[in-house]
Symmetry: none
Subunit: 222 residues, 4 copies
DNA sequence: TATGAATGAGCGTTCATTCAT
DNA sequence: CATGAATGAACGCTCATTCAT
């Protein structure tokens, strides 16, 4: 058996080209946005040619749509690997919160690419056939934790998982997205791990205080 | 009598040109970002010429720095007009929160220009001599409300005005900044006023629950 | 029984591909010229692939040569179906004239493809082995009519069928070829059927006046 | 007085650039058509830069419109220099006919550029504000000759100057425009001066026979 | 016989910027 | 104080064509 044979079948080489163009696109669009990221820089980074972008994706915009889909796919995939202990709803919600806050920190490309898409008023995500499938898993994570806590009488029933999801996202996303202006504004290096974990702890606390019933003391979980 | 100084003396005409270029820059950079907004589009919108941008601002980047300074100046100016009734700390914090959430909704240019600056890793704001002065007023608003509540024993003393400021900003900013992807993601039109005011109410509630002492019931303020 | 030979045996399917590529080439070259008509547009229109053009015709130029040959072939074939009543030379010449004038109107692809070839200084037609055979039939039509009239003493003997052929072609071809600039120039819609038939009548008259002996009155044939 | 001083005032240098770009455009579009003629070839030929085409003409199409206008302007200017002896209508019509036939021979750029415009269905001439002024002078030349002959009873009154103008144009234009395919078709080198003057003589004869009254013998004018 | 993948040159156009007065 | 002219690099994209099975 020869697994390392030089054979590079047609299909898999094509897959390679497509995949490496997509990977390069994520990097370049992440660094420079849709406008600032040039197709030739992407092609060069992928060790391919401009032409192949048009071959596989039709246009720069087509590549951007594929990029959006890919980062959402990775986001959902990461979320699907998070395990919640629903017997301990407070822990579960902590886990979910920490996952999101860290995901945005660890995936700046997710943040910058979405910012680019929003600058363009979301016109590409509307074109994606996959767009509608994106949201369910991520919100589901928050929903399961929240629902478990509500079932146990720990969490308020008048808060929606949608609001809590947006709250967590906002606090995690904004900290990453605006880190440079915010660091200048606050005169603190937000990227500093110590500051980050302080912030993370604050987010967890804020989320829990928002959902816990008045009768439950947060202190007991800390 | 001075016949050569008419209705528009030389100096103020220059001021006009400079001011209208700056105004146009805000609009264009807001719509298209630093990369996507072209010098000539700005000049055309200001009914001036490309060359004048170099005359007044030295370069495109110089113009962007001026743009950043201007939107921060407007932000601080708006904040300075907010009046807080510090006798009622909960109301004061509500007022501050509502101000910020609505400011981001009503000033998309503030949001998109800051996003652009963050995409460029904050390299322009560092160049501005004014940068350090920007933060104090805005945080001050939150600080005064929070301090008043703490002095009255209503608010926790273990929360910092910095964290609360970032929390409020995050929830207001993210809702505006990511409205297009979020609307697609949640399958809801976030720009819809009804949804906006629901969100605003939720933000107020989350902030108050985060700062109020356990012994204080939020209910009494609603 | 031969199970592998179905309704479309290999060879004829190949013929189909070749023929539909050629047909598509006529359409595309006709619309956009040699330079403007792209290989991939032709392939797409033929529901085939770029690669097949190289397979069957060697190059884009090879395909253009085949296109030229095909439109000349169709031209000659149409001419060969025209029947002249040589007993009535004036009628015969009318019939021939009308045939040519209408052929150019009804076959704009003939006109535009020849224009393209002339733009390229006739370099493709020289390559075709068939080129020399093209002319005889078409001129023959005029020749037979003219000769019949000369034999009967109706037509001048000092006019050549070559000149008359070119005269008829010029007047029919130019009207079609330059219809857009001419319509703008004359401020009349030349494509209008009424104007076309007036022009056709004028061409017939001009041709007859050019060939008829002075002693013969044209009036008697009208 | 120093007429040759090295002074190159702003305006006239600009005029030079614009004019040489236009001149180069005529050459290149004439050789290769609108599609085949590249802006960079034009810029190089004019010893200028691509960018200046956009500076002065806005786009390649804008340059093509200017090119059309320029060749029509030259055509009309040439026509305006033709002097007709209206006392001798037959001579006058001969002179006009010869002018047109030779103009097309001597200005192949007029022919190829118009062909290009017709390939594009006349969409540029429609955009030209000057288009409507183009036709009058050229037709006027034929009209004056024809009218003089009609007034003298030499020419038929049932022929229109429009038809005669188109007839002359067709015969002169087609001979030039289709010279390459026609030379191959007829197996004669149409560019040969001898053949050209034979053709010119035939055109004159055909035109005169078309317009002369039956009672007038052409022979007396030859 | 037929096809997916790849290629490099060139296209029309726009960019931020500088020159010369 | 203001302007028209010029510049060269880069942009997104399409071209005809060839490679490798």
């Amino acid at each position: 058996m020869n697994l390392t044979s030089g054979r590079t079948p047609r299909q898999s080489r094509a897959q390679d080209t497509r995949a490496s163009l997509l990977q390069a696109a994520i990097e370049v669009f992440s660094e420079s946005g849709l406008n600032g990221g040039s197709v030739s820089r992407i092609a060069k980074l992928a060790e391919s040619h401009d032409r192949m972008i048009y071959y596989y994706f039709g246009s720069k915009e087509g590549l951007f749509v594929a990029t959006l889909e890919e980062i959402y796919r990775q986001y959902n995939e990461a979320e699907s690997r998070v395990e919640l202990n629903l017997e301990q709803p407070v822990d579960a919600l902590k886990t979910a919160t920490v996952f999101f806050v860290r995901y945005f920190r660890d995936h700046p490309e997710f943040v910058t690419v979405l910012n680019s898409e929003n600058l363009h008023k979301g016109k590409h995500i509307g074109r994606s056939l996959l767009a509608s499938q994106f949201s369910k898993p991520a919100i589901g994570l928050v929903h399961r934790a929240l629902h478990a806590g509500q079932a146990k009488g720990l969490f308020r029933v008048d808060v929606s998982s949608r609001d809590i999801y947006v709250m967590i996202s906002a606090m995690g996303y904004f900290y990453q997205s605006n880190q440079y202006t915010l660091s200048a504004f606050l005169d603190e290096p937000l990227r500093d791990p110590k500051l980050f974990y302080q912030w993370e702890a604050f987010v967890v606390k804020a989320v829990l205080r928002t959902v816990l019933n008045d009768s439950v003391k947060l202190g007991q979980f800390e």
